[in-house]
């Protein structure tokens, strides 16, 4: 037993020295997370603000002016007014406008007549599908608000009718950063756990150090644990650092507890490391290892974890696939820990599934790795 421990310790110390000496692993562990956090903190924002919208005011009436003013005042749009619809259409074509509101000639007359909005149109650029959705929704909103104000001012109808009071829990301002950064953290951990681990083991094969290790009394389990612990610690450090940056620099709330964070991210890292080790036991060259790690680790963490793209909206086949993607569980847990708190009935089953995935991956790795060259 003493021998086991000492050998493992020696392997772990060796791994740490290598990590500290190799700039590229330090880059992946500490520089890449910072870059990713900044990009997700600033670069990716799903909150539509100042969407460029053209307003074609073909009507000279007062109501048309009021409505156009309402668009100008909206924080969601940067409105460009013009009398000529064709100019705005060309701008839409060139991608300089994302949508177009056409206020038709007889608009004011129709409204004053009490005949509703007439042929008021909203045209969105469908080639920017998501933005088109916003244009439609927010334009509706602007018109509805304007209409409600007008009704009240004109006191045509005292009845207020049904109201829907919407409240958004945990993230009242719907700050998209709040849900994107937990996703970015999952990506960072997937890169460290899977890509880096797969690369360093492949490197040992390429440099011939693995062959030398194999001929010593070291056991397979010791080799695996000797890789596992250093990268586990590295991943946890990168994680804690990233959480600190998110809270301090990006003003994210953190409403969960530290033990819950450590538990969730620890369970995820085990699964990610298991995946990295499994890849490296099959791919003994760095190029192939990097490719496989990208396809099975990084891309799913990005695409199928549900942080940008809704899992529920995916076709059933893809949705089924997401169940074996560890990042999916981590994203849910992190979003909950940042924004809600320790919701154990949600967190624990996810942790359990992650541990289960890790166990399966380690089992496969141990079975695939033999102390043999081929």
């Amino acid at each position: 037993m003493k021998d086991h421990l000492r050998r493992m310790k020696a392997l772990i110390v060796k791994e740490f020295v290598q990590i500290l000496r190799d700039p590229s692993s330090l880059m992946i562990a500490f520089v890449l997370p910072v870059i990713l956090l900044f990009l997700y903190g600033y670069g990716v924002s799903l909150d539509a603000r100042e969407v460029k919208l053209g307003v074609a005011v073909q009507d000279q009436g007062k109501e048309a002016d009021h409505l156009a003013a309402a668009f100008l005042a909206s924080p969601y749009f940067r409105a460009h007014l013009s009398r000529d619809e064709r100019i705005l259409e060309q701008e839409l074509m060139a991608g300089r406008l994302r949508g177009l509101v056409v206020i038709p000639e007889d608009f004011s007359r129709q409204v004053e007549k009490g005949a509703g909005l007439g042929r008021l149109q909203v045209i969105a650029d469908g080639s920017e599908t998501n933005t088109a959705n916003y244009v439609q929704n927010y334009a509706q909103g602007v018109v509805a608000t304007w209409w409600a104000m007008r009704q009240r001012d004109h006191a045509v109808d005292k009845q207020s009718g049904p109201q829907l009071l919407t409240r958004i829990w945990f993230n009242p301002e719907l700050e998209s950063r709040n849900s994107l950064i937990p996703g970015a953290l999952a990506i960072i951990m997937a890169i460290i756990g899977t890509l880096l681990t797969a690369l360093v083991v492949a490197r040992e094969w390429e440099r011939g150090t693995m062959e030398a290790l194999m001929a010593t009394p070291v056991a397979i389990a010791e080799l695996i644990i000797g890789k596992l612990i250093p990268y586990f610690i590295l991943g946890m450090l990168a994680m804690l650092g990233s959480v600190a940056i998110s809270v301090v620099l990006f003003d994210l709330p953190f409403r969960g507890s530290l033990p819950a964070l450590l538990l969730s991210s620890g369970a995820f890292l085990l699964a990610a490391l298991g995946q990295g080790l499994l890849i490296s036991s099959a791919a003994k060259n760095q190029f192939i290892a990097a490719m496989v790690a990208m396809i099975t680790g990084f891309l799913p963490a990005f695409l199928l974890s549900g942080f940008i793209f809704e899992i529920a909206s995916m076709p059933p086949m893809v949705r089924a696939l997401t169940h074996i993607i560890p990042a999916r569980y981590l994203v849910t847990n992190l979003q909950t820990l940042f924004l809600v708190g320790d919701v154990w009935p949600l967190l624990l089953p996810n942790v359990f599934i992650l541990l289960l995935l890790a166990a399966v991956l380690f089992f496969l790795t141990a079975r695939k790795t033999v102390k043999r060259l081929r």
């Binding site: 060796k14 000496r21 011939g208 043999r372």
Partner: protein, 578 residues
Amino acid sequence: MPAASLVIENLTYSYGKQLPLALAEFSATIRPGIVTGLVGPDGAGKTTLIRLMTALLLPSTGSIKVFGLDTRTDASQLHQIIGYMPQKFGLYEDLSVLQNLRLYADLQNVTGTKRQQVFQRLLTFTGLEPFQGRLAGRLSGGMKQKLGLACALIRKPRLLLLDEPSVGVDPVSRRELWRMVQELVDAETAVIWSTAYLDEAELCQKVLLLDGGRLLFSGSPREMTERVAGRCFQVQGISSNRRQVLSRALQQEGVQDGIVQGQNVRIVLRDGHAQPTLEVLEAGAEARLVPVAPRFEDAYVDALGGGPGGISALAAAMAPLSGDREVTVEAVGLTKRFGDFTAINDVSFAIHRGEIFGLLGPNGAGKSTTFKMMCGLLRPSGGNGRVVGLDLQKAPGKARSRLGYMAQKFSLYGDLSARQNLEFFSGVYGLTGVRQQETVTRMIDIFGLQPHLKDSAKDLPLGFKQRLALACSVMHEPAVLFLDEPTSGVDPLTRREFWTHINGLVERGVTVLVTTHFMDEAEYCDRIGLIYRGQMIASGPPDELKAQTATEQMPDPTLEEAFIAMLQQWDAKNEEAS
């Protein structure tokens, strides 16, 4: 006689059903207390055999027992008692010398006070004591191998397996490695040393000669060497061209092997054949045929059926270069500084047309730096290098189209087939159309590449890689050939074939600059420059250098002995001066 430590019975190993057997019906015993040499041409199965002994590969049929442990069933106990140094030893280059030692000590369960003693002994032993904190990646080739050996020796193994430990290592370090292993061997330890250097094999108490996965010979080197006793001669006092003498000798039916040794030519006769007459060799009036003591290498070539013939089809197909013996390669005051460190200080030499110039020197002395500056890969900090009268820095394209270059690693495109490599390199040197196709076809014929034309270069046997690399570097009929350790790790037969071509090309007027660690190879050179600590400390024909270092104790030094003596003299002189 002590009991056998390693028993191999009917061992067969195959890498795949389609492939020929890597080892076939192999049986041998290896006993402790001696160093057993493992020799054989490339692809003979040496590395496979060693890996089978470490239980990193398992036999297809048959068995290997190491001190009674079967490699199939007792691998974990086996790993407790072996020390293994793979071909590219698994040093962690980003760990320091001491960190590497500590790691392997922990893995080998060497702890406590014993460990300190072992470290102390190994560090002194290897001369690495002053470099404990240096990263393994920054050590010179020779020091790396010594550290590798030290790591394999931490817990004194009962079976030590060394796979070509001396490839790319200079003669001084090679001797030290050998001494370290000799000191280790006691009655209980068995050592297996695989090598392509036959002078090393000659020092082993026992050798196993493998060819094509089969055991050709097992016994003491002397026993094998005796097979060629009385058949070895040296042609001395040659006044004509010694390369032509060799070529003529090798065309004689009775001569099965021959090499250049300085000013002389060494030949080995076929069994039962008479010596050739000196008239046939046209060696000149003073020439005489002197019987010499046989060497293991002579017996090795004999056992493998003799060396290649003496005529280079490559040279025959090449038009002779016109011109006199003017200087074609010239270094004038070459200096290279990396920051504060002066790697090369004021090195000058001139090589004439049709001359072979060898650059020798220990690992890390500046040999490669000089070489790289000469072929334009490094920009000199001072002085300049000229090839066929052109400054490489000023007219690079023009100068480069006249030179051929072949590196140690045979820089071929591994993913391209043999033919595609030929087509690529001929294209790069501006050959097109019919002329290109003709040249490629000629190369294929000359080097016998036909059977491997469609194979990827990385899958070729080492010997074919070497041939292909040479073909690629001479297709454009260069006036100057730069060879960087061209036969490192290659077996003696392939090496002979290579030098037949080089000798032939030189006779056609090609100038050759070669770096090497093989003293046999250095003997082919017309002149040698010895680089040490960034300076050229001696230069001249091999025989002259030998004569310079001859003493009473050592009246007829080998080139290797001369080489070592010169380094020692230089060190002694400099110590006095400081």
